[in-house]
Symmetry: C2
Subunit: 342 residues, 2 copies
């Protein structure tokens, strides 16, 4: 696997173009950076309008047996049905930003085989309990990664030029916390959060489960982290990111789970992060820390903690505006406006 | 003038509605607050989609004689022509968020009388130099405020349910800094910024001009601040906000200049801020401080410092998404999803 090269010459040309537009230099702040970022990734001085594709990967977690989540595992499958019927947050947000939306069962406990409108790519019915053993075998983990790669290829083939991975999986903040702790070297207390809404007792339990899992894998190499304490949907998301970067298509990273997947993808290919933008910083503890480790800077902080790709979908219009400004604004010369030095 | 009453009963009902939607309670963070805010302002449990109207007020500033700006005053009129021809940032952003856009000459130095596509409501060709005397007479200030009120009434009559005021006026960060210093009791050093891009020498000059102006008006009452050190476009923006609040239509406050106008409006009617949402926090020094004084919390921080209403227009899609989620998501019952306590 080879990560695509970023065109830094175009990035510099795009910066020059920004300086000619009818505004004080730099006055559009991050919007200027975003436009130049897309110019260099698309390889066009004037980047195209974004055609986003959101793929939500669903999987269940054996660690739910420990009582670390406020909701039961059955909700993962129920929410997949909600996605199909259009009632979830991500359905609304995908429509708002004109994104295509795909839903993939990569590992739910529920039997969804009769459900139309999703991709049936179940590697396994939920992971093993990461507290006691490896969540996935090496083969299962590789298969889940491949599901993500396949989905990214399909989205790109269908015309997408911005990929968003979403997650659905009761228990997955616990798995993600383990990944983030291990791959950033942070203590559980700084990373574990309240997930879907556990109480203080549940929180203490969750911290102890994460600590014990980290202890269990302490003599394994970092490369085994995803397989040992990850989730099927998290592995698929990592594969999705890797394929996007290989194909030279930008990804917009969502929240806590997505950042655990991004760290896992970076473990496999360090330069995958060159194709990533961060969308929001989640209310979940440790997300800011994961983004920092990835070298990414979130665009907004809305105290969200929903997953599904919701934070990423929400900010797509900000990216579209950055590109539209870059493409459509007049220059000082074309508009006959006196420049600062004029 | 009477500010419209906010419906707190509907706000509470909207909060209950949010708790029934298929997501962990509170997991949409600020999006939930925004939806409930609009519910209470519109008086509907399910608020309508926003129909934004942006009115850009243009005026020049006598204080430019002091050399406090990186651009000459002629740029104000040139940019108004750029607005008419569709080449400015606000044109692009208005289109992106499907907003109506109006441009009003309330006090430029340029002769724009032959220009079609703008409202000609010039109160005066630029303010007097606030360093030496009152920028506007009492009558001129009142007239400019009335221009803003009239524009708000027109936008509302045309169907707008969200109002954004934008500014164009070389020199207006100096006027705004004076207003913000005086009405928040902050020292010039904490409020003055680099505007359109002055250098360090220019910055020191600007600080000294603001200090001297504040000294000049130190024995005047707070109520005279707008007239003494404001701008015609700032007064019009204040009037625009006041009319919106009287008519019960929310406003989305843009950056540094807009916040100076908001503080000026609050001086006239303290409860006007109940109808205000802050959009972004500008890179301009002292904007965060002005927002804090207004009791408003910005949605994004993109290091923008352009004015024109650009930061407000940029975030409109975030508000639309908040409302769409509130209106369109399924409830736990309707989707057959197990709730936390289920």
């Amino acid at each position: 696997m080879t990560i695509a090269t970023v065109n830094l010459v175009i990035e510099e040309e795009a910066r020059q173009h920004q300086n000619n537009l009818t505004k004080p230099r730099g006055s559009l702040g991050r919007l200027e950076d975003i436009a130049c970022w897309f110019a260099s990734r698309q390889g066009h001085l004037l980047p195209e309008t974004l055609r986003p594709h959101i793929t939500v990967f669903a999987g269940d977690h054996g660690v739910c047996a420990e009582g670390i989540s406020a909701f039961p595992s059955i909700v993962t499958g129920e929410m997949v049905q909600n996605f199909v019927h259009g009632g979830a947050a991500i359905n609304v947000l995908a429509k708002q930003c004109s994104a295509q939306l795909s839903v993939v069962d990569v590992g739910t406990l529920s039997d969804l085989s009769g459900l139309k409108g999703i991709a049936h790519k179940k590697v396994k019915s939920g992971t093993a309990n990461l507290l006691h053993k490896a969540a996935m075998s090496e083969t299962e983990c590789a298969e889940a990664i491949n599901v993500g790669k396949e989905e990214a290829r399909m989205a790109i083939a269908a015309g997408a030029n911005l990929l968003i991975a979403g997650d659905m999986g009761i228990g997955n903040t616990t798995a993600s916390a383990c990944i983030i702790c291990r791959l950033t070297g942070s203590p559980a207390e700084n990373v574990v959060g309240f997930g879907t809404g556990i109480d203080e007792t549940g929180y203490q339990l969750k911290v102890s489960v994460v600590k014990a899992a980290l202890q269990r894998i302490s003599d394994k190499p970092d490369e085994d982290t995803l397989q040992e304490v990850g989730g099927l949907e998290i592995a698929a998301m990592a594969g999705f990111y890797l394929q996007a970067a290989e194909s030279g298509v930008p990804v917009l990273v969502d929240g806590f789970i997505a950042s655990a997947a991004a760290l896992s993808a970076r473990m496999i290919e360090p330069s995958v992060t060159e194709w990533m933008l961060a969308s929001h910083v989640s209310e979940e503890n440790g997300h800011a820390l994961a983004l920092h480790a990835l070298g990414l800077s979130a665009l907004i902080d809305f105290n969200m903690r929903l997953g599904e790709g919701s934070g990423a979908a929400l900010v797509v219009p900000l990216l579209q505006s950055a590109i539209a400004l870059h493409r459509e604004m007049a220059t000082f010369t074309s508009a006959g406006v006196t420049d600062k030095d004029g």
